[in-house]
Symmetry: C3
């Protein structure tokens, strides 16, 4: 049950090691706190082994990867795996540059992350070795729709099997799959695409969920994905247009705050009830 997965985060309060981009790092930290876990950020080659050792999971996000932080990603990843800690990879912008594509594939090959979460273009890049990612957003040509859903799920399951991991592809329709089973999740609202970093936030939360739910990574990731989408729905309130008392119509900055607030107050029961998914 998805709700129980959230309750386990609140019960176990895992410490999550993040090597993540400097664009959305503050929101990642606050959403990890909101979901009931604790974040720590450390990317230096001399620091990452000690830090990952005291943590319950490692979240590697290549959003602003550079020559200084890439070696830290590998060192931390190897140490985490050696200790049996789950590793999450967020291949931000894989397909948009050679460095991003190669680094994402190298991390996938050498670290063997337990979970990979990205948009469809980034994930496609991991299986084809090239991509058409539009900056950090999915290419429209790649979008998951009801028409291509069945074949996309098959491809994601095959990639999850090849990579021996759970794969989460997020977008208008989310797919969370291992080799055998896929959750198709239909929470979320389009306005989330107008906020930077909802994907990065989800990867951070995912690390907390898998750390707190070692017995079932697939369900843990599905719960994290559904909780983010549900938070977006609550933040939007079914599309009603909101105005602050100054007459400023609420926009993406208010939405950003409300999504983290919604995660902060979400209960297992509420997630259980609000999650819209099927398993195929």
């Amino acid at each position: 049950m998805l709700g129980e997965r959230l309750e386990n985060v609140r019960k176990n309060t895992p410490l999550v090691h993040n090597i993540t981009n400097y664009v959305t790092v503050n929101d990642v930290a606050n959403v990890i706190l909101a979901t009931g876990a604790s974040p720590i950020m450390s990317d230096d080659i001399e620091d990452v082994e000690d830090i990952t050792t005291i943590c319950g999971a490692l979240n590697i996000n290549i959003g602003t990867l550079n020559q200084r932080t890439i070696p830290g990603m590998f060192k931390a990843g190897k140490k985490a795996k050696e200790l049996g800690h789950p590793v999450i990879l967020d291949p931000v912008g894989a397909g948009a540059s050679r460095l991003r594509t190669e680094t994402a594939i190298k991390i996938a090959d050498e670290i063997k992350p337990d979970v990979i979460r990205g948009n469809i273009s980034e994930i496609k890049t991991l299986w084809t070795g090239e991509g058409s990612t539009k900056g950090v957003d999915a290419d429209i040509a790649d979008r998951v729709t009801d028409e291509n859903l069945a074949e996309t799920v098959d491809a994601i399951k095959a990639l999850a099997k090849e990579r021996s991991c759970v794969i989460a592809v997020t977008g208008a329709i989310d797919i969370v799959a291992d080799a055998d089973k896929a959750y198709i999740i239909r929470n979320g609202v389009a306005e989330m695409g107008q906020i930077t970093g909802t994907g990065c936030q989800l990867s951070g939360m995912t690390a907390a969920y898998v750390a707190a739910n070692p017995d079932n990574h697939l369900e843990a990731v599905a719960a994290a994905v559904a909780s983010m989408g549900l938070a977006g729905e609550k933040a939007k309130n079914g599309g009603e247009i909101m105005y602050s008392r100054t007459g400023v119509q609420e926009g993406n900055s208010t939405m950003r705050n409300r999504i983290i607030d919604a995660i902060c107050n979400m209960t297992g029961k509420e997630l259980e009830k609000g999650a819209k998914y099927e398993i195929i």
Copy 2:
């Protein structure tokens, strides 16, 4: 017409490559999304050429420049110019340190940005080679007032001619000029100075505006500047003191959120109507 310049951003949804400081980078990303474009941040020397190639404009902000990122600024800048993409320079803190002054001048000399946006002290530093910038704020002695406006406009036009670019000097009175023509813009409120990064946000938006309006950079920059000031006015609501329901008086954090919200909801019509400017 300024309103049309905003509508062109919404229509063309340009991708903007930002090499910017880590202090205000999240707000820069969210305001670029709010204005209708897409941001991507990348500063590594091995990554910047690929990223800038897929973008419509490059925004270089030296706010937390360092030995690792400076070479990336030059490499990206050269590639962007080679491809005919507009480059925006925000010389944060030029005049406050030798490194900032020299780097800003070297970027201006070697990359030849299409737009330079800064406060009056930073811009003065670019034409005199030295400055008295108070940290990242303008020196009070430099402030643009109605008394020194005419001579300041002449100096900015001369600098714009020398540099073959559009120059935007922002402060209580904003000046946006090329060699021949200057917009004097009187939008904005003093409280914007209590929020970190409204200048950085404006530079990011400016990149989106020039990318979406290749036919008229001067008017595009003027529209970006006016939209930021107008957003500040809307966020402040004419000076009425606001209280949240907890009795906490609203301050600079609420103002920061509301400015981005206001950009998110601004229409071309509203900008056209709200912009206060003259052309001289």
Copy 3:
């Protein structure tokens, strides 16, 4: 009087040089502005001496320390001390890794900061050379309680004497001490622990307070600590559960905004009245 210490910040508007982590840096900048001072961030070895020279205080925070920024911390620290500027050290995560522990101790030894602010586990690490910091949070075994308060205060005073500085230990009960005198401060609410960076924000504010109050660093630090706690109380409003108009219950993101808003609007009178402390 604590209130006067805040008024001095507003009167003197010091410029504060921050070498701080990229996680909470934006909030640090905005809270420094909210309290009435001006922030500048600069960490490059070629930039820090010039920048610290024009500032009134230096805030060194090791939250995301790395091989590039550590040399900048030492260079800036030495220059600031040479100029007689107060230096604040925030030893984030000291005790959680060898690099953090060693760097914090080396800065304490070589730079001799005027103020050290951390949680109890970080501060303990500075006097024992090892620690049990839980990531960036205090170890529960270390927590300051009414039972161990007297002996903890004695230990902090002894450390302050040995280090010739003011030490601020923040948590449920805050202790601000020099060799002879300690403020025991009981402002604040537990929810502040659910927001990333309230400690970092406090260190930035502390730098502003000591810069503006050179005659009494101890009282200045106590005032900064009390103002942060009081802002947390105002943000929480005595525990009443708040809902936004969308029905999203307010959480840690709203709380984060409201704390900075509360600092922005806090008056000396209000701080004087709201501060809950005893001196022992």
